[in-house]
Subunit: 222 residues, 4 copies
DNA sequence: GATGAATGAGCATTCATTCAT
DNA sequence: GATGAATGAATGCTCATTCAT
């Protein structure tokens, strides 16, 4: 088995000091310190090498514990993944249905806001987002189904924002479903290449993708 | 281990009769029948479950052979993956540098053509393309490097097509790098959701994404 | 591992309310309440699933404590087993050498009494007796040796009772060793099948096996 | 964990050269040499230490293979146990319903024959018989159920033999069920203590227990 | 070319036991 | 006395790979 060979790009993620500090606000508030540290370690491992190439030892090593310690806090490796992906999707959903976004009257403003919010979250938490987008099929069928449900709801807010602008004439008569999918593709695909130390801050990328979104609906900035 | 549970979406890929017939033109001409059948089986397995969750038995079962037979034709499981990904990337590169595309004089026509070619290939061969895009980090560092090289060359043709139109005034003064990346994101991300029996044929999607590309460079269809 | 699947017969033992109340008189008088409750829980677990398939958590759960609490009261799981088996064997020994039995003049009466006493104990405490008979080889070599010693002494009373009747002509000229072993087999084997809610009370079974014992020595009831 | 400490009595079984040669006739004829050797090794291990205290390594070591080799021939450790116990019970059943036994006219002769056959099998194959009698509750519920079925059928032949003699007046008016159970107890319990190098050959013990059986039904040898 | 058998290296998970609180 | 957290040492089982046939 040539399973554990290091690949530069992804392996860097695991050791990147900028990623080492977990974002406590990312996890459920009722989790303890150790659980949050384990989740953060798991996120880095899964993002770098994928769920199946990550061992429980890898995860535990990331917080200086033995593999057995993982099982004091989580019932299985798969449930660690599920917790990460579920919370990630819940956070994204919370962002796109933010009341302040839904309160925006102009269709263009609203679409800009939702695209920016979705993009900013994926960029700022690009390591977690990578796991959320790329490790879905390591979930059990049941857990996978729960995530699909959350994605449907999130995508619905996007589709509504596009459909609204098309309906009120703000946007061109674009194919709502296809254009929405394209917008989502842009922000989802950034988990492949985004780096926090790159040219764009999450907010800058959010603005840029909001611009692109308006171009996709035929309403570029004047 | 909950490793082998089937998830509807991806697991379907393995058994989908439309995917069962390998496209012989996809593989290197010098490979024998069995080798091509093994590669096709591996593509379906890797696309459905990922490289690490696929066993050599899974691959061999797909062609009615024993796991040991794999080693008569390939030196390792990783080299099966590499062969798939390398050939996939070579095919894509060949498409985007097609002389008939480079011969197009108009910047808009050329960009349309390259986006359509790239998109059509990913859609028509979406199962292989999924492996090419999502299993990269199962490669050894060396093989990964070779693929990155191919991607750089492919991406270069995209960037040139955008830069050319910006330079000659056909397109708006967009950020070439960012916009190019966005175009690539659209076509790459389709491997997550595209189905041949869906609403769009590869060619239709190619046209649609060519349209979107022109919008992204501020030159929508009049 | 299919280790924890419940099997009806044995698993029932753990939850049988008739077994839930420990018999305080079974354990050493100097033990505290918690210790006795732990021993009773352990007896039910060991009887139901065997020593090696019983976890310290199983035992502790039976008295509503954490696994760590077990170690406040006993130095190891094996010593819990040893305590159970040792006390069980001491109790049996005490019964068969009861002065009132040894005071019986008639050889037939004495054999009847000893067989009945041995049988009654095994039947009344059949859960504990099951552990005493079936979990011996989970003991350390040293502890095993101590138990073998107790068994030899107990068996000696049986052998003497038989030998006495053979010598004084009360019984036929049977092979003392083999016949004694057969009598013991009968009462030992009841731990496999006896239930307090079955057809026979411990005393009824004791009488029945006393009858059988006399038949085995060729002196059936006239 | 003091799990692997050797206990003299039982541990001896594993290494006893007399037990090392498997009895090929004991296993299913369609099994290969390696499978039979693995079963024989497993029998010795399970008899000596019990199913749960036996590791797959122990079993494999007994035939000079690696633990993984076990899984080339059997799907799980539990199925090794089941195969042993099932075949053991089938062999016993075959012995007690031997046509030559059922052909015996006299009730005493028939009971003698069935008791002797049952006893001889348990004595000659006392190591396997020990596993058959003492490791039942390591089986899955389903497998356990299959064995219970076989035991019921075997026990039925015993009960019929007793009932017949009671009905035709050959035996005393004994309690058929209780007396039958006692006869079975005698032969089952011998797995605890029988040794092939002891005082009795299997056949001698069979004769002795046949004698005892007749005494238990009130019809001792004249 | 094909494979049944075999295995070294692992892997997720378990568990008896320890210990700071 | 009680326990939550932690862990060393397994443990059953898997799998990529090898090789004699």
């Amino acid at each position: 088995m040539a399973r554990r060979q290091a690949r530069f790009t992804a392996q860097d993620l695991v050791d990147d000091p900028r990623l080492r500090d977990h974002s406590p606000e990312l996890w459920r508030a009722d989790l303890g310190e150790v659980q949050r540290r384990l989740l953060s370690s798991a996120v880095r491992c899964f993002a770098a090498n994928g769920f199946h190439a990550t061992t429980t030892r890898d995860i535990a090593d990331g917080v200086g514990l033995s593999p057995a310690a993982l099982y004091v806090h989580f019932p299985s490796k798969e449930l660690v993944l599920f917790e990460i992906i579920r919370v990630g999707h819940e956070r994204v959903l919370a962002h796109v249905r933010d009341p302040s976004i839904l309160a925006l009257e102009g269709s263009a403003d609203r679409l800009r806001a939702i695209v920016a919010a979705y993009t900013v979250w994926h960029a700022r938490h690009h390591v977690t987002a990578r796991v959320c987008q790329m490790e879905l099929n390591a979930l059990t069928a049941e857990h996978y189904g729960e995530i699909v449900e959350l994605r449907h709801r999130t995508n619905g807010y996007f589709r509504d924002a596009v459909a609204r602008g098309v309906a009120d004439g703000t946007f061109a008569q674009v194919d709502v479903k296809r254009v929405t999918r394209a917008m989502l593709s842009l922000s989802i695909d950034l988990v492949r290449w985004y780096r926090l130390d790159g040219a764009d801050s999450p907010e800058q990328l959010g603005e840029f993708y909001a611009d692109l979104a308006l171009r996709l609906v035929g309403r570029p900035k004047e």
